[in-house]
């Protein structure tokens, strides 16, 4: 009995020793990775490549990785004459807000990333945005555009998307231009159904602002919010139908847009113009709904139809890198956000995070792919370039229809 207890005691000590040895080995394996920070710059990337935002998140990840590859192929970032390669530390947040914030925190603390790019979608971006100032680490979101993220006075938070309120006002401005052209009548009624997030609130505010400044053009007869990730929007659409509006404007994410528009088509409704905010031309939507997405228009941050030589080059590089064409705007904003960050690090001449933040405030990407060809951050950290309006047209075409000076086709209005 006595021998047994001594034996078990020994075993317990051995197990404890093994555990300690295991931990030491684990740390030993991790320490060299952290030490590599000396010859490379660690860039944390937190994106959803699984879950309901998986598709756009994957496109943004591809845009970031293409930019990193191109920078590294050219020798990396030069700081005081020394070349540093960018080393990506990637985390998939699974489209989960809580996980997104935790992973951004991990990238900034445990991984000691020089900067972090993350937060596709407003919900995930909002969750991550509380971390940068806590860890004094520059953070750029290439996929969250709600103004609330940039209104807290955070100093290390930057956004490569123009504000959603501008998307709303550009949408209304485009519809107003159709009235001016005689394609739509004055005084049409608008039904608004938007996601129950700051994104949706900003979108409505943008539209209302434009309508208030241009009386007589449109009136809003229906305005309701819905929860993202729903499977059944038939009740909401029933209310939209009962509102007897002429124009239906929604603000939704990709999956919600596909689900809602499928049910819209099945409800037999018809409006003179339809939009789902920044969603419309995605390949997944055409695959799921076929010609059912024709004539939908969208306000987006980038289009492959923009007439800049760098856009053509990007499309060719992206296709070579990923094996597929860029789908809507997702990859382009992430690509430019990464390039602007690399430029700022080089301008800072240091990997000091505060110096990089200061450089980001002044940085300007002058060969940007985005409308206007210049990407820079405003005083609140958010970019402010113009939107382009695209419309799905028959034959699987996606054309820029607004602004007029950059249009590749005439808008088809009203919807036949």
């Amino acid at each position: 009995m006595m021998r047994n207890s001594v034996w078990f005691g020994c075993r317990r000590w051995r197990a404890a020793l093994l555990l300690v040895a295991g931990c030491v080995a684990l740390f030993a394996a991790v320490i060299p990775a952290a030490a590599q920070a000396g010859d490379s710059i660690i860039l944390g990337v937190v994106m959803p490549i699984s879950g309901r935002e998986g598709k756009p998140g994957q496109y943004q990840k591809e845009g970031i990785e293409l930019a990193i590859k191109q920078i590294n192929d050219k020798g990396g970032i030069t700081i005081k004459g020394k070349k540093y390669a960018i080393k990506e530390v990637f985390y998939d947040d699974g489209s989960d807000s809580a996980k997104s914030a935790t992973l951004a925190e991990r990238a900034m603390s445990s991984d000691n990333a020089t900067a972090v790019i993350g937060g596709y979608s407003t919900a995930l971006g909002e969750a991550e945005s509380v971390m940068p100032d806590r860890y004094k680490t520059p953070w750029i979101t290439p996929g969250a555009g709600a103004t609330s993220i940039f209104s807290h006075g955070y100093e290390y938070v930057f956004g490569a998307l123009s504000p959603i309120a501008l998307l709303g006002s550009t949408t209304a401005e485009f519809l107003g231009s159709l009235v001016d052209q005689g394609k739509l009548k004055k005084g049409l009624k608008i039904a608004l159904a938007v996601e129950n997030t700051d994104h949706g609130i900003d979108y409505v505010n943008g539209i209302q602002d434009w309508i208030n400044k241009h009386p007589g053009y449109f009136t809003v007869v229906f305005n309701e919010k819905f929860e993202l990730g729903g499977t059944d929007y038939s009740g909401l659409l029933q209310k939209v139908k009962a509102a007897r509006a002429d124009i239906f404007l929604s603000d939704a994410h990709l999956q919600d847009y596909i689900t809602m528009h499928r049910q819209y088509l099945q409800s037999g409704m018809h409006h003179q113009m339809i939009s789902y905010g920044a969603r419309g031309p995605e390949a997944d939507a055409r695959k799921a709904l076929g010609d059912g997405i024709n004539y939908i228009f969208a306000g987006i941050w980038w289009s492959g139809k923009l007439p800049y030589p760098q856009v053509k080059q990007f499309i060719s590089d992206y296709k070579q890198f990923t094996g597929h064409d860029p789908d809507s705007w997702y990859a382009a904003t992430a690509y430019d956000a990464t390039r602007l960050l690399a430029q700022a690090i080089q301008q800072a001449g240091s990997t000091d995070k505060t110096k990089i933040r200061d450089a980001l405030r002044k940085a300007e990407l002058k060969d940007s792919l985005l409308p206007g060809t210049v990407l820079k951050f405003g005083a609140n950290g958010q970019a402010g370039y113009p939107f382009v309006i695209v419309q799905n047209q028959p034959g699987g075409k996606v054309e820029i229809v607004y602004p007029k000076n950059g249009a590749t086709a005439e808008p088809i209005a009203p919807t036949p």
Binding site: E227, S234, Q238, A242, Q266, A288, G292
Partner: protein
């Protein structure tokens, strides 16, 4: 809103009730006979959706036919799952934690298998019928919803006939009413449980295939419908097949009409609220209420 505006939601609610009944009846069969709360029901519905999708994409089989094929295929799958996993569970006349955990684990396995095979992206079945609408005066009915309703109602009626007329049906009802007396009377409880699990799984697969005609789906598909199935079977009285039909109609009417009066963002809360109210006010469901009234009469 005029009276005509209420016609559309009324028709929509009735059509919705059909598919709700088809997706819940399988859970009732399994719960009634085996006292297992089948959390894997959501996963089985998801598999049913992918089954219809694969038949449509690979062999161009119409999803309506695919849904009918799903019945025997998922019945056999259910028998296999019962033989492999469920039969080892300890017998009980109350739901047990082990059965809950087993079915939850099985759901996770199904989800991950689907993720490995089909990936994370949403899929949908798109036929020329998908967007076809029948206009009846002021009411517009999506053809696909009507077809799904007819299929769902026919399948539930056939199941009801089977349960009333066949030996298997009598055995199922006997086990639900009094498992001990049923065994004394010669009902083979193991075999009946195995077939019941097969029938429950068949209806889950069938409902999934029908739902795939209405909604896009991913490996996470079925989660929201699982909650609705719970509400329906609790409303119906857990073990009553006719109660399921009534529960499905009540839930569909409440969901469809409440959205006309409350903001759409509250829609997800409606099912939860109804579940809480029913558990507090009608713990034995509608069937319990009717039973009580008949006794009083």
């Amino acid at each position: 809103m005029s009276l005509i505006d209420y016609l559309d939601p009324l028709v929509a609610a009735v059509l919705l009730a059909g598919i709700y009944a088809a997706m819940s009846v399988g859970m009732t069969v399994i719960y009634g006979v085996m006292k297992i709360v089948n959390l894997a029901h959501a996963g089985l519905m998801m598999m049913g959706a992918y089954f219809a999708y694969e038949l449509f994409e690979r062999f161009h089989i119409d999803p309506v036919i695919a849904a009918i094929i799903a019945l025997p295929v998922f019945f056999l799958f259910g028998i296999a799952v019962h033989w492999l996993l469920v039969r080892w569970l300890p017998k009980s006349d109350q739901p047990t934690l082990s059965s809950l955990l087993l079915m939850f684990g099985f759901w996770l396995v199904l989800q991950n298998v689907a993720l490995l095979i089909w990936g994370n992206e949403d899929r949908s079945i798109f036929t020329p019928m998908t967007f076809s609408v029948i206009q009846m005066g002021p009411v517009s009915i999506a053809k696909v919803r009507l077809i799904v309703f007819v299929l769902a109602v026919v399948s539930v009626v056939i199941l009801q006939i089977v349960l009333r007329r066949s030996w298997f049906g009598r055995a199922v009802r006997a086990l639900i009413q009094n498992p001990y007396a049923a065994q004394i009377a010669g009902v083979d409880d193991r075999r009946t449980a195995m077939f019941s699990f097969g029938v429950g799984t068949a209806f889950a697969g069938f409902a999934g295939a029908l739902l795939a005609m209405l909604y896009s789906f991913s490996p996470d598909f079925g989660r929201q419908f699982l909650l609705r199935s719970f509400v329906i079977i609790v409303l119906g009285g857990l073990e009553s097949f006719s109660g399921v039909a009534v529960g499905a109609l009540i839930l569909a009417l409440v969901e469809t009409f409440s959205i006309l009066f409350v903001p759409a963002s509250y829609q997800p809360a409606i099912s939860y609220a109804l579940l809480v109210v029913v558990l507090l006010v009608l713990p034995k469901g509608v069937a319990g209420l009717l039973e009580k009234k008949w006794r009083v009469a």
